[in-house]
């Protein structure tokens, strides 16, 4: 079974790197969205520092949902997904491989870009480490929960619009806990518990979400 997992992971990464420009879309989207906030709110450094964790996290949420639409789309349209289901390999594992590939391509760049965003938003330097940690723990949760929504809306023509309605309410706890952790650092409070909660959420989602999205895919393909 791990062989199938690794083969699929390699295939998805290879496909992604063959279309390098598309890799940049979520990244560019994130940059544009975050740069709008100082323009709309004003360049006051104190205010920007206060809202920085929330702005960066909400932008990450939006960028994830934008990139999620492509998670199963091409495989669904050319019939590869049906072959996956018929292949005899557990669909849960296949789904997990695709989610890992998606996170490496769309989630990890957001984490790597966060220092730049932190400078833009005047985030205090001592909060930066925790900000990166929350993104590192949180963005995989976004991909995992999002995959369920993608699976459910796959057979719809305008699934992307519905997707945001389905997944944003489910993202609420991640947003609250992650931004609370960063703000706790700024206020000089202990933040370990928040990182613990995020890790717990990540472990729960890794174990449960692939089953739900595999079930969702089977419904969409039927």
């Amino acid at each position: 079974m791990p062989a199938a997992f690794l083969a699929l992971l390699r295939r998805d990464l290879l496909l992604a790197f063959r279309r390098r420009t598309e890799l940049l879309f979520p990244v560019a989207f994130l940059l544009v969205v975050v740069s709008l906030f100082p323009l709309g709110i004003g360049p006051g450094p104190a205010l920007l520092a206060r809202i920085a964790p929330g702005v960066i996290w909400i932008a990450a949420l939006l960028a994830t949902v934008i990139s999620l639409d492509g998670l199963f789309r091409s495989d669904f349209e050319d019939g590869t997904l049906e072959q996956f289901i018929l292949s005899g390999h557990p669909l849960t594992l296949i789904v997990l491989a695709k989610i890992v590939a998606h996170w490496l391509v769309a989630g990890l760049p957001l984490v790597l870009l966060s220092p730049l965003l932190a400078i833009w938003m005047n985030l205090p330097m001592e909060s930066l480490g925790v900000m990166i940690l929350t993104l590192l723990l949180g963005t995989p949760i976004l991909s995992l929960i999002g995959s369920i929504g993608v699976g459910l809306t796959l057979s719809l023509k305008r699934g992307g619009q519905l997707l945001s309605l389905l997944v944003f309410p489910l993202y609420v706890p991640v947003l609250i806990v992650a931004t609370a952790a960063v703000m706790a650092v700024s206020d000089g409070l202990p933040y370990g518990a928040f990182l613990g909660l995020l890790t717990a959420g990540l472990v729960t989602c890794v174990t449960l979400a692939p089953f739900a999205s595999a079930a969702a895919l089977k419904i969409s393909v039927s």
Partner: protein, 260 residues
Amino acid sequence: MKTDKARKNPLVMFIHKLGSPPWFYGFTGKFIPWLWAVFAVLTIWGLYLGLFKAPPDYLQGESYRIMYIHVPAAWMSMMIYVLMAIMGFIALIWRIRTMEIMAMNSAPIGAAFTLIALATGSLWGRPTWGTYWVWDARLTSELVLLFLYLGVIGLYKAMDEPRKAARAASLLAMVGLVNLPIIHFSVKWWNTLHQGSSISLTGSKIDPSMLWPLLIMAVAMKFYYAANLITRSRVTLLEQDLRKSWTRTVAEDATGELKS
């Protein structure tokens, strides 16, 4: 052998029969007027006691009376989501069509209760807290609940094939049910302004003269949900089975009654 044994069990037989649309239609048709009648009597009784008999609150005056709508609606909004997810679970596992229809018809009723709870809450908040809306924990989780309902309804309506749509939306409802406590506690921790619960399973801090109308209204709303759900489900069954013979029989019976 096992199936023979199961067939003789009256409860198993009853559940089997409920899965059959004609039987469900006939069976529910017998008691649906009673559900509506009990709902009407209890509501009139509860509202009379709550709006005219219960004394005004020493702190909030008359404005507290909105709780006779607000609190039962908030309770129902959560209860219906749980029931919808459970019915969706049953529908997904055993592929019972009447269950799919019941789960999906629960969503608009639950969303309406959520909206009523939010609207009455903000009307009450204006004189009491001085503002229509605050980002308080319970208000926020109720708002997220409304979004979850809208997601289920949206997904169900977006798909053309009703059975596939019901299965997809049922799965979404189940995912939402797993998330609901997490959302609730994260939001609760995030900000709390709402007054604490006055009623718990172990006792109540409310005077009986104020409590009784509330409990009567809560029961009345459960009858409303049952009556509304079954009425909606019967209509959906007729719509979906428009070209089947049992709906023809139902239609002939109905028109025959009209003629005679």
